[in-house]
């Protein structure tokens, strides 16, 4: 299991390679990567991510442990950045390794759904017209209902 809450950028390629390596008994690897999206109407200058040091790591570790147990994973990874990010930068990624593809996919979606609404991160969008905290979405809360 690999959990990291960090300010620095991560290297998707290197992380994916490291994660996939050495899992000869796991046939399926899924990765999800979140990228700071540019806003079409009001161009985004930056995305600032605040978090709750101490609780964040514990929460992510707990989610990964749950995913590993529930979907019989061989391994799980969560990286989430905080601080100021530019459009196009990678915010976070998860990776899952399972024997079968269904488990690998479901575990990655489970991790993402929990991460969205249960890990203590808060995003603020900074545009020319000012800065605004991103509102939580009902659909993100609803997404938890299926697990």
């Amino acid at each position: 299991m690999h959990i990291s809450v960090q300010r620095e950028a991560f290297d998707l390629g290197a992380v994916s390679d490291d994660f996939a390596r050495g899992h000869t008994d796991m046939g399926a690897i899924v990765t999800f990567t979140g990228i700071v999206r540019d806003l079409p109407d009001d161009p985004l200058q930056a995305m600032e991510i605040e978090h709750y040091p101490g609780m964040t790591e514990t929460a992510l570790r707990g989610m990964a442990e749950q995913a590993i147990a529930r979907f019989s994973l061989g391994d799980a990874l969560v990286i989430h950045r905080h601080g100021v990010l530019a459009p196009g930068e990678m915010i976070m990624m998860v990776a899952t390794a399972a024997r079968h593809r269904k488990d690998a996919f479901e575990a990655a979606e489970f991790l993402m759904d929990y991460l969205k609404s249960r890990a203590p991160f808060w995003k603020r969008e900074i545009t020319k017209s000012g800065s605004e905290w991103v509102a939580s979405k009902d659909e993100d809360e609803d997404a938890l209902a299926r697990w």
Binding site: E50, Y52, R118, F121, W122, K123
Partner: protein, 81 residues
Amino acid sequence: MDILYFAWVRERIGVPREQIETSAATVMDLVAELRAREERYALAFSELASLRVAVDQELSDFDAPLVNVREVAFFPPMTGG
């Protein structure tokens, strides 16, 4: 007890954390105490439905007891990922 604030709750209160003396029995009691302090607290805690609370770094409910608790954090719904 350490009280922490994040995101717009932090901005409304004006500090990221503070230490307070309290004998509040539950989170709800603590919220009532804070609300009574000053306008900025009343404003930050005006709509509990849009707030979340963590007790000793675990997501919790507003009716959670505060026995032997060291740290309570208030913040908006999370928007990670």
